[in-house]
């Protein structure tokens, strides 16, 4: 069945489906119950599944993830919400030292099917700690899987797949795209979770992005097309693992790569992609891999975020610089 719905609603539908299909799935977090979460992603779930399945937690992120780990050890599949990106750090210890390593520490005897949902990224004019993109801080940690959907359909299906995963998944939700509508076919057969997708074919240069920056990259490709340039846009969808094979295939065709993310470029996922693609495609590249992203500065006050975030012109500038080689 295909429906047009907002990205946030798609996640809501996905959670609803998971709660319905598997009694071991529980949703937990701050304000996820009656309020339905500050972004309403869990709207109506507690009403329909009860307080023991959709759990309002004390305001303590380490406690949320730590108890989710305990629930997973008991056989549950918790989906926890961290209210905002900048609030995940009290839980960072539990995620890094416990959640990520439990399977390895137990020599494979324990599985950690925990999804940590994090609304992330800027562009909504928020106050401090509400606009960050900390995905690289998690990508560095073996044992975690990290994904970020860019559209409603992926949001629905990637959440299904994240919940079914026996590994912990950090699910970064592009909060500025929560209200973007798209077609969702809830009976489709989705592709694998950790593969990239070509969302626009092109021949002159590859733009690689995920989450909130995919839409921007499509707009960049439209603008470039008006100038007679054919850009390919890759929606990476997964940050750990990264589908390097798909990036490589695209770059071997276009010979140029620009990676775009909101997170600071320094030690960002773009740095890793640049290094790997340089290694894999050294003789195909016509230009160094370029990155467009945040600066090595605290996420700025809302009035300055437009200068901090990649936008159409900044990405086009990188495209120009790449094509100039």
């Amino acid at each position: 069945m295909t429906d047009k719905m907002a990205l946030a609603k798609a996640i809501n539908e996905s959670l609803r489906h998971a709660l319905d299909a598997d009694p071991k799935v529980v949703v937990m977090g701050e304000d996820v119950g009656k309020l339905g979460g500050v972004f309403r992603v869990t709207d109506g779930l507690q009403k329909d599944f009860g307080e023991s399945r959709v759990i309002d937690t004390p305001l303590a992120e380490s406690g949320i993830v730590g108890t989710a780990i305990g629930l997973a050890l008991r056989g549950y599949r918790p989906v926890v919400e961290i209210q905002f990106d900048g609030f995940v750090f009290p839980a960072y210890d539990q995620i890094v030292t416990q959640l990520a390593k439990m399977h390895a520490r137990s020599l494979g005897k324990v599985k950690m099917p925990v999804v940590v949902r994090i609304p992330y990224g800027g562009g909504i004019g928020a106050v401090e700690h509400h606009s960050e993109s900390p995905e690289s801080l998690f990508a560095h940690v073996a044992g975690l899987k990290i994904v970020s959907p860019s559209n409603a359909s992926d949001a629905y299906w990637m959440m299904q797949q994240a919940i079914q995963s026996d590994d912990p998944v950090i699910f970064f939700e592009p909060k500025r795209r929560y209200w973007d509508k798209g077609e969702v076919d809830t009976e489709a057969i989705p592709g694998p979770l950790h593969t990239a997708r070509v969302v626009r074919e092109g021949t002159d240069l590859t733009l690689a992005a995920y989450g909130p920056m995919v839409k921007l990259c499509r707009e960049v490709a439209d603008a470039a097309a008006e100038e007679g340039r054919s850009l390919e846009v890759l929606d990476l969808r997964s940050v750990s693992p990264i589908d390097f094979d798909s990036i490589q295939a695209s770059v071997e065709k276009t010979r140029r790569l620009v990676v775009v993310h909101e997170a600071p470029v320094f030690f960002g996922s773009g740095a890793e992609i640049a290094a790997r693609i340089t290694e894999r495609c050294f003789y195909h590249l016509e230009a160094p891999v370029l990155r467009v992203g945040g600066y090595h500065a605290p996420y700025p006050p809302a009035r300055l975020e437009e200068s901090y975030l990649p936008d159409l012109d900044r990405v086009l500038d990188a495209v120009d610089r790449s094509l100039a080689y």
Binding site: V26, S52, T57, P58, A60, S62, G63, V65, G66, T67, A68, I69, G70, L71, A72, L73, R74, G75, Y76, P90, D93, Q94, T97, Q98, K101, M102, H103, A104, R105, S106, L107, G108, K109, V110, K111, M112, A142, G143, K145, S165, D166, D167, H194, S240, P241, I242, D243, F244
Partner: protein
């Protein structure tokens, strides 16, 4: 610290001296601390609150109106069993310390002195209860039937935890201080959801009581009325820091602020630990929520084999605690009540030596893992990067084989 004797120790002061008689009185060195605490809090004369004790350091059974019922049906056989558990645990622990000194283990965290707290609480558990230990719960592991040699893998460096947690309902040792209190709470929340009447016990120490995770575990368990027992072994020292660097109030009193009961028990009295833990577990099973048990004990040895306690504490304190030795007091009780004869003790000594030998041989025979174990079990469902790096590593390793073959 040197390797400790595994038998019940004889106190260097005879029973009946100041330190030996009450079990609660502080020694000279600790009285100082109590005084400063008094100044700060304006508390009354009694420096330390009463603790639950059923067996005095001299091995005398004392009545306790509240907790006697939890050990009322205990048999001579059970008492000998507790004694055996403590002696064998101490023997195992001493063997591990020796193995570290011999270079067979990289590190060992000794439980010396804490046998009663661990065996008493460990034997209070039902099979379907679940244990979340720190890295020092060798006695509890023993009670759960985890083979002692399995505990040594992580200290030898061949794995990070070598047993199946669900095999004995005994979770992996947790090194990050206090993390497991939350896991225990979450697990207990799951028990409630399942409608089961199992209970969960989380072990931690006085140092961990300062961790946010422990405070959050108290909050979550109280809010959800989770069937969990927080068993804090206050062994007086978090490496070099005494308990007064962690708290201005006795630790068991922390529970009150979270809305559940806390009780301090003589951590060196195996009967008291058994009784109090049974009580706390029954509360959990009955849906009465969490309990904090503070087992007031003493870390007789170093924090770990890497530690040097002579830099931060004196002998007097240790000597005072030696007089309260958990094994000695039960032995006295067994002997005085004719529950055990010489034959029992002799047989146990033989069993103890056999255990030491078995542990020694098992550790020495423990092979290093295969190099490729680095890449095993990083993920349950696999990960492309791990696959790629494993292949690169294999090719690198194979390049040496090629070089050899070329010669």
């Amino acid at each position: 610290m040197t390797v400790e004797s595994t038998a019940a120790r004889t106190p260097r002061r005879s029973a009946g001296t100041k330190a030996g008689t009450t079990g609660t009185k502080r020694t000279t060195s600790t009285t100082k601390k109590a005084t400063s605490a008094k100044k700060a809090t304006g508390a009354g004369k009694s420096a330390e609150p009463a603790l639950v004790q059923l067996l005095t350091p001299e091995g005398k059974r004392v009545k306790n109106a509240e907790f006697d019922q939890y050990v009322a049906d205990i048999t001579a056989d059970d008492l000998r069993g507790l004694y055996r558990d403590m002696v064998l645990t101490r023997r195992f622990d001493a063997e591990a310390t020796s193995l570290q000194r011999q270079g067979e283990l990289g590190l060992w965290a000794s439980l010396l002195g804490q046998e009663a707290a661990q065996i008493g609480s460990g034997r209070a558990l039902r099979d379907d209860d679940y244990v979340f230990p720190t890295y020092r719960e060798h006695g509890v592991a023993w009670c759960r039937g985890v083979d002692p040699t399995n505990l040594l893998g992580m200290f030898r460096g061949v794995n990070n935890g070598g047993w199946d947690p669900n095999g004995n309902n005994f979770h992996l040792y947790t090194i990050v201080i206090g993390s497991q209190a939350l896991h225990a709470t979450g697990y207990a929340m799951g028990v409630t959801k399942d409608g089961a009447d199992s209970a969960v016990i989380a072990y931690f120490g006085d140092g961990a009581s300062s961790q946010g995770d422990v405070a959050e575990a108290f909050t979550f368990s109280a809010v959800y009325n989770a069937p969990v027992v927080f068993f804090c072994q206050n062994n007086q020292w978090a490496i070099s820091e005494p308990t007064e660097k962690q708290s201005r109030v006795p630790l068991y009193q922390r529970a009150q602020g979270f809305g559940f009961p806390g009780v301090r028990v003589d951590g060196n009295d195996v009967l008291a630990n058994l009784a109090v833990t049974k009580w706390a577990l029954e509360r959990a099973r009955a849906g009465e929520g969490p309990t904090l048990v503070e087992a007031f004990t003493y870390r007789m040895g170093a924090h770990t084999t890497s530690d040097d306690p002579t830099r931060y504490r004196g002998d007097e304190e240790r000597l005072a605690w030696e007089a309260k030795d958990p094994i000695l007091r039960l032995r006295r009780y067994l002997e005085a009540s004719n529950h055990a004869d010489e034959g029992f003790f002799a047989e146990l000594e033989t069993e103890s030596e056999a255990l030491g030998k078995r542990v020694r041989e098992a550790v020495r025979a423990m092979p290093d893992p295969d190099h490729f174990a680095i890449f095993e079990n990083v993920y349950a469902d696999g990960h492309a990067l791990v696959d790629e790096e494993r292949a690169q590593f294999a090719a690198y390793q194979a390049s040496f084989a090629d070089a050899d073959g070329g010669k």
